[in-house]
Point group: C2
Chain length 515, copies 2
């Protein structure tokens, strides 16, 4: 056994059995080890941003980390933006970053770089093996680190000689050693519950994922006490659709979020911090806590969110309240003009049970999501870290995690181009992904933001920086070039037909929505 | 004037008048400032790796930096791999990285990240403005830093409020303050010259770019003294073709490089360090200095390479020697089977004067380059940092720098997929780029390296990680989808015809070479 084999064994023995990879020469022993270990599934991406985004989507659905395999400092660098998203979403992730042999690091070789320095800003845990004997134990430690609640990014640097040298050392991650989530502030729960029962205007902002259990507790709190509840604009995962309790998200634009929070006397925070705007803007507030509101900080994202929420519901006297539950109420198919709402209606009409919807639709996101309330139950994944280029890879990873569920990648054109190579991996793996590209030919959000930041009306040069029509992107050609069947829809009828075909056909497809 | 306007003014007043950009909300004031400053040309890329690779290609040809405009930590992260290549090539580059407003940084906003930490591993100089008044001066300082010989990567972080706040402060880079290159070691020049004149077996390894002047001096040294001379495997820029003196590159594979250096008694180094292998391999040497050879270290890459080389030629008594000059000797057009050599022959037959050839052809690189010796003069740019995904963006930037020269992007399929979005920018800007994609359907270099690292014959799972045929990439579709006309060539005749069409047609085109 060599170090690479010991690492693959440590991963699979620890139930980490999917590896998204874009390897290079320094990772060849790891790649070779795949053939001696049938448990490990290795999924190739043609760009590292695909690899890391897929690992994020996978882990959000699987509830356990995937490994990634990245090639030295530049390979890691290419994957960083989606590692950033995973870090903000607190997704468990184990990055294996091959590096030069330990004795080659002191030279200024072309690919030599400060791998640890590159990994650190985007990782919760960074380790580097120095010998083959250490590799398995460090791999197990990385897995344990990744499972610290609610999830962490662990990056393990694997110098080539630690991969090829012999070892007999094995290891298995011991998740019983992973620390429990931080205890919530009991006093804050008490004061929050007292505020709620006093009849004051209370708002709960709930961080983290919205599981079915949390949604139900939120529903009880709302039904039993009238407390307003919002989850984060970017909640990494939300159980939605029929049979679940609705949980509203805070709006992206600060003005709208401020309206949602308006009149709040007591702001209760579970699983995060008091809300802020995504960006700061000249002459606009960036802190969203209403003036004069009392903040009850119960726990941060690393805290026992379930326990805190349950205790708050209990102490607020809402434990027996009946939560609102969404009912199945499919709309009719749309006709006429094609817009984001029509896309949502067609989806809601046709969507199979238990789908996964990955949202990176940008300015089209609100329109289609608004139409999804009456669909069968589905899981929504969001762009938690705000770094575009997440949607297509995350959908790819989610489909690997959940082969029995239809995945929708709801993707804006601008962000879609960042990691367009994900389509190839979908074709290669035969994944049941329906990619819906909203082609509006621009960075539409920036046209909004241009004015909002006080830059006023863009001139022609500025406007050209926000425009994607010269030349127009042809997503049907792009998808076809990577082996994914594709259709363009310019009317609701065309979209309805293309969506029906996609859902009836195993494997990936792409629908270019001209809006 | 606001900070962003002050920065754009500082850039253009300092003769930095091209900005490759992929902006976001935090860069909107910079984008707005473009319309008040007609001197600045702003070129949009649909992914940051395109932006930074284009800035590298531009600066290698222009001899001065371009600016890049990147969106916060993740945007910078997406550009890092090509910044790495620029750093290794010592290309001057000025990165402007927008960030959250200073007073927004303390919050855990979705896009907040340690921008300085991300920039540092890949930059020679990192600065961050704290106020609008500082912005112009820091921009000028970044330009000065970028011009420290032979070139540096300077990264300036621009918090949004320093861009939008008012200022009256202007600045212009003062290149007279840039330190001169380090003086070479005169004693090492003397001992090297003594070794050369003694008749001992001497080899010069010359780092940095191979300018016409350097090539001529190398030619004199070889003609006058018999000294073997090699430039770096990855010399960032080399003047080649008819009318220039040939300078051989050290081979990529260590065994072949060792043969080139075999028998050397005196190893003379100008502009670098004693050669090493690209990677380390089990049971193979990674240092290439022949056993027993005396090393004469004259200067590093930051040294006065021209002065050192001139002095060495002079003191070796070769100043009057007539260098070998390559003559124009175009081959006939190839026919029959299409391979890399046939591609090179067709190029050599048809190539216009003064072309630029960007090489990221991987395993096809040797074949086509071997056929280019008799072509008209051309400039060769290489993948100096070894991070693939450089070719298409660098060709894009080179074409912006040299609108009167035909640019060839010689691109392997694997690396081409990393930054395929560059094709869109070529179409948008109407650049005269002939993109030649070598489609061999695999990471061929890894199939070589798999065995070389001692991983032995790959099993089916390992082999599948090196394979790009499931599904096959269709580069004609990919290019068409981004507005670049494309043809597929499966025979030499088809390639000849496609190349002739490309050269006769303004704007970009792509030829997919099936090998």
């Amino acid at each position: 056994m060599n170090g690479a084999q010991a690492l693959v064994k440590a991963l699979t023995d620890s139930d980490v059995d999917v590896c998204f990879a874009n390897p290079g020469t320094s990772e060849m022993h790891f790649v070779a080890a795949l053939d001696t270990n049938p448990q490990m599934r290795c999924v190739l991406g043609l760009f590292e941003g695909v690899v890391t985004g897929a690992a994020d989507g996978y882990a959000r659905m699987a509830g356990k980390p995937a490994a990634t395999l990245l090639h030295t400092g530049p390979g890691l660098a290419n994957g960083l933006a989606n590692i950033h998203n995973a870090k903000k979403a607190r997704t468990p992730m184990v990055n294996i970053i091959g590096d030069h042999a330990t004795y080659h690091r002191r030279f200024d070789a072309p690919l030599s770089a400060d791998v640890e320095g590159i990994a650190t800003p985007m990782s919760h845990w960074v380790g580097s093996a120095d010998t083959a004997d250490e590799v398995a134990a460090m791999g197990a430690a990385a897995i344990e680190a990744s499972m610290v609640a609610p999830g962490q990014v662990a990056s393990l640097i694997l110098p080539a000689d630690t991969a090829w040298n012999p070892t007999t050392k094995t290891a298995i991650a011991d998740l019983t050693t992973v620390p429990a989530p931080d205890a919530p502030d009991e006093r804050a729960i008490d004061t929050a519950a007292a505020a709620i029962t006093s009849g004051a205007a209370c708002t709960l902002v709930l961080g983290g994922a919205i599981t079915q259990q949390r949604a139900r507790l939120v529903g009880q709190l709302t039904a039993g006490t009238g407390t307003r509840v919002f989850c984060s604009t970017w909640a990494p995962r939300q159980e939605s659709g029929a049979g679940r309790s609705p949980v509203a998200r805070l709006q992206y634009f600060g003005e709208l979020a401020a309206q949602q929070l308006d009149g709040t006397e007591h702001l209760i925070i579970i699983g995060g911090h008091p809300p802020i705007t995504f960006f700061a803007y000249p002459d606009k507030p960036n802190e969203l806590t209403p003036d004069g509101a009392t903040v009850h900080q119960i726990c941060e994202i690393t805290g026992d969110i379930d326990g805190a929420l349950e205790a708050l519901v209990e102490r607020s006297g809402a434990a027996d309240a009946a939560p609102k539950i969404l009912e199945l109420d499919r709309p009719t198919l749309p006709d006429g003009e094609l817009d984001a709402t029509a896309v949502g209606r067609a989806m809601a009409h046709l969507m199979p049970d238990n789908a996964i919807v990955v949202n990176e639709a940008g300015t089209a996101g609100g329109g289609y999501q608004g139409a999804l309330r009456g669909t069968p139950a589905f899981t929504l994944l969001a762009l938690t870290g705000g770094s575009i280029g997440y949607g297509l890879p995350a959908a790819t990873g989610a489909a690997i995690a959940c082969p029995d569920r239809r995945v929708f990648a709801m993707q804006a054109d601008g962000g879609g181009m960042y990691t367009v190579q994900a389509l190839w991996t979908q074709a290669r793996e035969g994944l049941d992904v329906t990619n819906v590209i909203f082609n509006n030919g621009k960075y539409a959000i920036l046209q909004f933001e241009f004015d909002r930041v006080g830059a006023h009306s863009p001139g022609p040069k500025a406007m050209s920086m926000l425009d994607l029509t010269n030349p127009a992107l042809d997503w049907v050609s792009l998808a076809t070039g990577m082996g994914v069947p594709a259709e363009r829809a310019t009317t609701a009828d065309e979209f309805n037909a293309a969506l029906a075909t996609s859902l009836a056909t195993p494997g990936p497809s792409l629908i270019e929505v001209m809006i």
